[in-house]
Symmetry: C2
Subunit: 324 residues, 2 copies
Amino acid sequence: MTILVVGSVGLDNVETPSGKRIRTLGGACTYFATAASLYDQVSMVAVVGTDFPPEHIDFLKTRNIDLRGLEIVQGKTFFWAGRYGDDLNVAETLDTQLNVFADFRPSIPEDLRDAEYVFLANIDPDLQIALLQQCRAPRLTVLDSMNYWITSKRDSLARAISMVDVVLFNEAETKLFAAKSNILVAAKQILGMGPKALVIKRGEYGSILVTRGDGAAWALGECFFLTPAYPLERVIDPTGAGDTFAAGFMGYLARSDDLSIEALRRAVVHGTVVASFTVEDFSIDRLRTLTTRDIDERYQEFLKLTYFETLPGSDCECFRRPIS
Amino acid sequence: MTILVVGSVGLDNVETPSGKRIRTLGGACTYFATAASLYDQVSMVAVVGTDFPPEHIDFLKTRNIDLRGLEIVQGKTFFWAGRYGDDLNVAETLDTQLNVFADFRPSIPEDLRDAEYVFLANIDPDLQIALLQQCRAPRLTVLDSMNYWITSKRDSLARAISMVDVVLFNEAETKLFAAKSNILVAAKQILGMGPKALVIKRGEYGSILVTRGDGAAWALGECFFLTPAYPLERVIDPTGAGDTFAAGFMGYLARSDDLSIEALRRAVVHGTVVASFTVEDFSIDRLRTLTTRDIDERYQEFLKLTYFETLPGSDCECFRRPIS
């Protein structure tokens, strides 16, 4: 299946306790497309300026990413500068220059309007609505957003949310958008607005998938799926974790073309696994060498990390021995 | 198997967004013993003052808890007053009156020194050491502590930790004790001090079990187990969550008398489940009516909440249907 992504491509200055990078490749669309290209065919709709280094275009082409929707317009590329302290969960934005992204009025090229899997990265919800109206028959639409739009364009965002299948929010965004302090209560309220599923990203604490029950019931074990994050001894750069979580999630669904709740759960774990690789290096550097085999191995390891009743074929002796 | 618990029995004033209670039954030993009595035979070693309401003693007796180690001495019972705001993860201590607990020099009654399962609730680590020396042949010793002892009696606590099988810490305590900001790095350091396992409690984000690998290796999927918390729409009073987590954990192990890593993982889930019931009401009130059947049902529900690959016998149709 074809995955269509619309979002930002940019250049980032990033500083973390592990070091810093200047004008490195960034942007939600870049992170998403690079990671999702490990799963299936990706087409991107985005804009860059004439200063955008050609080697980045060349790299995206090596991933077989369809760049017909990438406009190159006179001017400078979107730029973001940020810093992470010891608490890697919080990015401090030092500078944002929208540049050519300020006038980005994305239009999906004619023959991409039939794309089956559509990811709307974090952009103005009015643009997300316009893009959704251009899609002819998507199998799955997924939307990301951020606190800025929740605060400044709540009505537009609510409308966009009512039009998509899946909403991705982090924990704070979920509570902020629903104006509820309990995460389950907030989740139910958002699902009541129309989407079929909500994925709540909790950073190093994992994520929650919420779907609607059969009818009015909200059987906890059926409507909710909770999973921890993959534990890492060292996080180099958290930038792009959310975008590549989305890529693993959608990539798995597009590749399997299965939209059952079971598939969605596995997709959340794929998102978890892909995001865990992303933060092991700056920018998209870890993704450059990542393989589907790496993903599958970590997925199996994640199973071992989280299960507490025996799975078929998982007769690992190491769990049978007494603690020593 | 017999579970021996040593710790505080007290009276609490508690205030949460859901209401307040005055001089309600509290104390780590009380919470632990009440919950663990649902699993196996419990003996408690503790002290109360002559003001301790006899109905609380009567209640503990109805749970078949062995009270031969409960001293009643002239004076007032340990008293704690605390308040929780909207962030139920943080208790603000308003008052602590040690009273008869200040001179508590616990001694395990002679015929309880053969208890197989020993839980040392959060008390002075020097007392924990003295108690461990009185135990003749425990199958499993588990220790809880708090930031106060980490800061004020680090050396004694380090020695106590080197003497037990399992250490229970919350996330902040783990990082504080190891002086490391990464939780995996901190956990490995603590295991290097002697215990066979460490359980890290992360409140609403679940918990992590860490055991040592075979030899020097730290295969992530074998040495670490991560699990979310059971999600609740409403938390009434978080007091006692940690103590009853310990009770579910030890209760399951004592009842099955299985100390394999697999059993420890299930024990962590039992801890998770029991703690989730505790916080549904003030004091030990929810535990008064809790049954083993309630626990087993929520354990099964937890399995449904967290698995993403099919388990034997779990061919639930609800997960196969497409999201709607």
